[in-house]
């Protein structure tokens, strides 16, 4: 398992490839990989968004992400997990979050990927501030899905 809060832009596909080749699950040992990539949009609530600044709570954020992964229903069915999340300034098109899950069969991977992502959205201490053309605003809450 690898969990990381990233202060600089990351390429999720390169990180997936390097994780699989350098540590990750044993080749041949897994039959399913489910990945979710969350990417910054250039619009929110009807307004153009120029950039986002993502803040976190160093220490608690990593602990909470570890807890989220450990509390997945079928934890024993997971062979490996990779979670990356950006902080700092992000522009439209930049990846914000990557959740990747490896398992023997697809059900555990699909379910865990979704569970981790939903729990991250509702309980991992990150906050987004939007830069609009005419000012800034904090995102008040996440959308349900």
């Amino acid at each position: 398992m690898h969990i990381e809060v990233c202060e600089h832009p990351f390429n999720p596909w390169e990180r997936l490839a390097s994780f699989e080749s350098e540590k990750g699950p044993r080749p041949g040992g897994f039959g399913a990989t489910a990945t979710f990539v969350g990417t910054m949009r250039d619009f929110n609530e009807g307004d153009d968004v120029v950039s986002l600044t993502l803040e976190h709570y160093p220490g608690m954020t990593e602990r909470q992400l570890e807890r989220i992964v450990s509390e997945v229903d079928d934890r024993d069915g997971l062979l490996d997990v990779l979670v990356l999340h950006r902080v700092g300034q992000v522009v439209p098109g930049d990846p914000i979050v990557l959740v990747a899950v490896w398992s023997a069969h697809r059900a555990a991977a699909f379910t865990a990927c979704r569970q981790i992502m939903e729990a991250l959205k509702s309980s991992a201490p990150f906050w987004k501030k939007e830069e609009l053309k005419d000012g800034q605003r904090w995102v008040a809450q996440n959308t349900p899905g």
């Binding site: 803040e55 608690m60 999340h85 991992a124 201490p125 990150f126 906050w127 501030k129 904090w138 008040a140």
Partner: protein, 77 residues
């Protein structure tokens, strides 16, 4: 050791600083920490609290040397 109290995101901006410090008292709760430091701001029901980097309810007791944090609903992902 005093209690270290931290504020994040929009709450930090509203309060105008990122930290406070408070001496512990017997049976002090998270809600009382807030009320002592922010007497003019009722604790919003949306505000989340953590002690030593774990989520807690506002009736949780706070001890000498603890780190208490208050922050708004999270919006990551």
């Amino acid at each position: 050791m005093p209690i270290r109290v931290r504020y994040f995101a929009s709450l930090r901006e509203r309060i105008g600083r990122s930290e406070d410090s408070l001496d512990a008292k017997p049976d002090l709760t998270v809600a009382e920490v807030w009320a002592t430091l922010q007497p003019d701001r009722p604790l919003d029901s949306n505000t989340l609290a953590a002690v030593n980097q774990e989520y807690v309810e506002s009736d949780r007791r706070v001890l000498d040397g603890d780190e208490v944090a208050f922050f708004p609903p999270v919006t990551g992902g």
